[in-house]
């Protein structure tokens, strides 16, 4: 049974499965939640009332800490919340907020997007979904309806014209083609607008196979220190609808990634595509728990244990870093531990219930649940080297495993606990130090280290890898750099996360520089990309130094052409964290510009703007921008150039002075030849 959608409706779970055609099976389902009271006698009146008004049966259920006596109550969340209030929050409740369609499938061993549940952890699978791509060319931020749509379903259709005709044709094509999978640009922004317009124009919107839609509210939330925004969503029944612009899972893993996320989490693909990796790993753990007959706590009430100050200071230190010496280095190897944190969880048996005695024979819930996921990741990491189709699945597994560590310390994680989080980072620090000791004992030089990888110089590196794998018990991967540049901080010390270098396969690996950052204007990204492409042809530092003139020419050319560059290439895309700013800044001015245009925005949303005059904080949304501040963008260009120039002997020796002279010289040339340049500068 290949399930492509699931939903809880009318007292049961609807499973939409594809077997030639798509059919719906309705399964009556009325699951209980579980209640444990530390002192049941104190609440006997409440228990009697529960037995009388709902179905409440005494039972024993299993938590990750062991068996627990209590009651199974056949009621919903409002009753659970009333119990909390009545018992002054003394009651412990379980399985209250587990999605009922997910719980139904987990209890019965049903796996979505999978013909055989035994293939749940297989990286290779097929699907017979017929798909349709809908590319809406209108702007979802400003336009309330669609007037220009491209539809790809075998052949490509372009719908353009009056609103009613366009929408009628779009709906007609969806109804006629009846796709199982719809990939739509900004689907979550458009669907509610389309619904409103369809009602106004008296058109039937055919996206749902039952005519019903599930809704998800919009919200802004904190994730890894930054604010994110999730759009409200309208999810059709019986079909997969993926927002190709907003879905992180689709962006990172493609369709294969979405389907794998659905398989692992036990959620419908439409939902899996809309969730963050953190929610996916949390859902995966929930599915695993239910499948193993373990109940899921409703509230997170078990706080960390009492600690002395000194113990807290020792434990709460995070990952280990070694600061690099800035400069360019030849023949460097990067030793990278494969999924280090999840491997530590599995290997060291770290779980909330084993934290006090991880060496016990009884394996904890987290290691048991994560082990198959980790094994799968190790397989996909190997497979993707020969089969690019696996890359999407591997990317999603990587993200889920990365967040599984973070979730152990997350306040709302169902199976998390801060001591587990600290136990993982503590062991990772020991492992990195051990690796450094091994490396240096074998005569290598350690150049840099970040949490789970080391950059080393020396040979034979294969022997080093073999010894590290053996002594740490973890798997590592090697990457060889012909040369690598560690950039400096303003104080001259090496930056931890800003480096680039040429790998032995000829590609250039880049981290933390303009070409990699999301807010870099296209014009500058292109310039740095062109420079890196040229630099990628040099296999040694000597060869690289010979490319100075060629790379410098790219910079000079970019600088010269800057005033005439298309405005759209100056667009800065940034995720906003707030709507009000205490001080004047470019980002605040961009938020105000959006407000002035009447475009609603929320924290966590991405905005795109062009700086017209940085001095007076004049900023326009990208669609309104007609000019740009050349001085401001020249500074950005120079900053990007400095990152590249540092790789060259000529660039390093007198970086600042040399650039100052070259910029002045180029400016003088431009001003002499192009009168418009002076005008552009004044803008």
């Amino acid at each position: 049974m290949w399930i492509l959608d699931s939903a809880f409706r009318s007292g049961g779970v609807d499973l939409w499965h594809k077997n030639g055609s798509v059919q719906k099976i309705h399964n009556e389902y009325d699951p209980p939640f579980y209640l444990h009271l530390p002192d049941p006698d104190l609440h006997h009146g409440m228990i009697e009332a529960l037995e009388e008004h709902y179905r409440a049966e005494p039972c024993t259920f299993t938590t990750i800490f062991g068996d627990c006596k209590g009651h199974a109550v056949f009621a919903g969340r409002p009753v659970a919340e009333a119990i909390e209030q009545q018992t002054q929050f003394a009651a412990q409740l379980f399985n209250v907020d587990v999605r009922r369609d997910q719980r139904f499938m987990a209890e019965r061993g049903i796996v979505p997007c999978c013909a055989d549940p035994a293939d749940r952890f297989s990286p290779i699978f097929e699907h017979g979904l017929n798909r349709m791509e809908i590319r809406i060319r209108d702007d979802p931020a400003r336009d309330q309806t669609c007037s220009d749509i491209e539809i790809i379903c075998g052949r490509t259709e372009r719908l353009h014209g009056p609103e009613r005709d366009v929408l009628a044709d779009l709906f007609g094509l969806v109804a006629a083609y009846d796709p199982d999978l719809i990939l739509m640009t900004d689907a979550d922004r458009w669907m509610s607008k389309l619904q409103v317009r369809a009602r106004a124009l008296d058109l039937a919107m055919p996206f749902s196979r039952s005519g019903k839609y599930r809704t998800m509210d919009s919200r802004s939330y904190w994730s890894y220190g930054r604010v994110e925004h999730k759009e409200a969503a309208l999810i059709p029944d019986g079909r997969i609808l993926i927002d190709t612009e907003q879905s992180f899972v689709y962006r990172e893993g493609g369709l294969a990634g979405v389907l794998m996320a659905s398989r692992l989490s036990g959620l419908s693909p439409s939902l899996a595509s809309r969730f963050t990796p953190g929610t996916l790993i949390s859902s995966y753990e929930t599915y695993e728990a239910v499948q193993r007959g373990i109940v899921v706590p409703f509230r997170k009430s078990d706080a960390e244990v009492l600690r002395k100050f000194a113990a807290l200071k020792t434990a709460d230190r995070g990952g280990m870093m070694f600061q690099p010496e800035p400069g360019i280095f030849e023949d460097v190897d990067e030793i990278d531990f494969t999924s280090m944190y999840p491997s530590i969880i599995v290997k060291a048996n770290l779980s909330p219930e084993t934290i006090g005695h991880p060496e016990s024979q009884q394996r904890g819930f987290l290691p048991v649940a994560l082990e198959p996921l980790l094994d799968l990741r190790i397989r996909t990491k190997q497979l993707k080297k020969t089969d690019p189709a696996i890359a999407g699945i591997d990317a999603i597994l990587k993200w889920m495993l990365v967040t599984c560590f973070g979730y152990t310390g997350y306040k709302n994680a169902k199976f998390g606990r801060i001591e587990v989080h600290e136990g993982i980072t503590g062991r990772s620090r020991d492992i990195l130090l051990l690796t450094k000791d091994i490396t240096e004992a074998m005569g290598f030089r350690v150049l840099h280290g970040i949490v789970d990888c080391l950059w080393v110089q020396g040979s034979p590196v294969a022997a080093l890898q073999e010894r590290v794998n053996r002594e740490t018990g973890l798997l590592t991967e090697l990457e060889h750099f012909n040369w690598i540049v560690f950039l400096p901080l303003n104080d001259g010390m090496g930056a931890y996360n800003r480096y680039y270098g040429r790998l032995s396969d000829g590609s250039v690996k880049v981290r933390g520089i303009a070409a990699r950052r999301h807010d870099t204007p296209e014009y500058i990204r292109k310039m740095q990309g062109d420079m890196l492409a040229v630099m990628g042809t040099a296999a040694t530092i000597e060869e690289l130094n010979r490319l100075w003139d060629q790379v410098n020419a790219i910079y000079r050319n970019a600088l010269q052409k800057l005033p005439y560059a298309p405005v759209q290439e100056m667009r800065i895309s940034r995720r906003i964290s707030r709507l009000t700013y205490a001080h004047r800044c470019i980002e605040g001015a961009a938020v105000n510009a959006y407000h002035k245009c009447g475009v609603p925005i929320a924290p966590g949303m991405k905005i795109r703007y062009v700086v017209q005059d940085a001095r007076t904080y004049r900023v326009e949304p990208d669609w309104n921008a007609e000019r740009f501040d050349t001085t401001y963008y020249r500074e950005l260009l120079e900053r990007a150039w400095k990152e590249i120039a540092y790789a060259f002997r000529a660039g390093r020796v007198s970086n600042t002075e040399q650039q100052r002279i070259s910029v002045i010289r180029v400016e003088q040339q431009i001003c002499a030849k192009q009168p418009e340049y002076r005008d552009a500068q004044k803008m």
């Binding site: 929050f89 009430s301 706080a303 002395k308 807290l312 009000t580």
Partner: protein, 174 residues
């Protein structure tokens, strides 16, 4: 055993006291009282403490427990058996957990019957106001010196010709 917060303001055992005071003031009160080292002291804070790193760590009786949710805070208060329970208020614990205002306020009051319970915040907010409804005492100590400049910088620096606040500075008020 008393903690002198400020001259003439002392905190007593067997009470639940809400304190609104600058960080420096509360740190000074905790660090300057050598007597505190003789008692079991529980410091409760969320994920990001404002003053934990500034507290003298010499005492063996000084213990820390960090709740990350309001449910965990309730558990911590219920389980506290220390002579002094000092809670650094963290409003983020109560995002979406307003249902716990009353139970936590009651638990603070209950624990305060036996111990010295201090709920501290540098400034009041909605959740703090809800938690201190059952407090025996509420003490607010204002920062010393002139009231803060609402624009956050000296007027001399901010004013342009003519000495008036430029129109553009309105953005600083939002």
């Amino acid at each position: 055993m008393l903690i002198e917060l400020s001259k003439g303001i002392t905190l007593h055992p067997g009470s639940f006291t809400a304190v609104i005071a600058p960080e420096k003031k509360i740190l000074a009160a905790l660090n300057s009282n050598a007597d505190l080292q003789r008692f079991l002291f529980l410091y409760v804070c969320g994920n990001y403490s404002r003053i934990l790193s500034g507290i003298s760590r010499t005492s063996n009786n000084f213990e820390v427990r960090r709740p990350f949710t309001a449910d965990q805070l309730l558990t911590v208060i219920h389980e506290a058996s220390h002579t002094i329970v000092f809670i650094e208020h963290d409003p983020t614990l109560f995002d979406g957990a307003e249902r716990l205002f009353v139970p936590i306020a009651s638990a603070l009051k209950q624990t305060g019957r036996e111990a010295m319970v201090i709920l501290w915040a540098p400034a009041s907010d909605r959740s703090f106001a809800a938690l201190i409804r059952q407090a025996d005492r509420i003490i607010e100590i204002l920062p010393e010196g002139p009231p803060p400049d609402r624009f956050g910088f000296s007027s001399q620096r901010s004013c342009r010709k003519g000495g008036v606040v430029p129109r553009a500075q309105k953005t600083l008020e939002v």
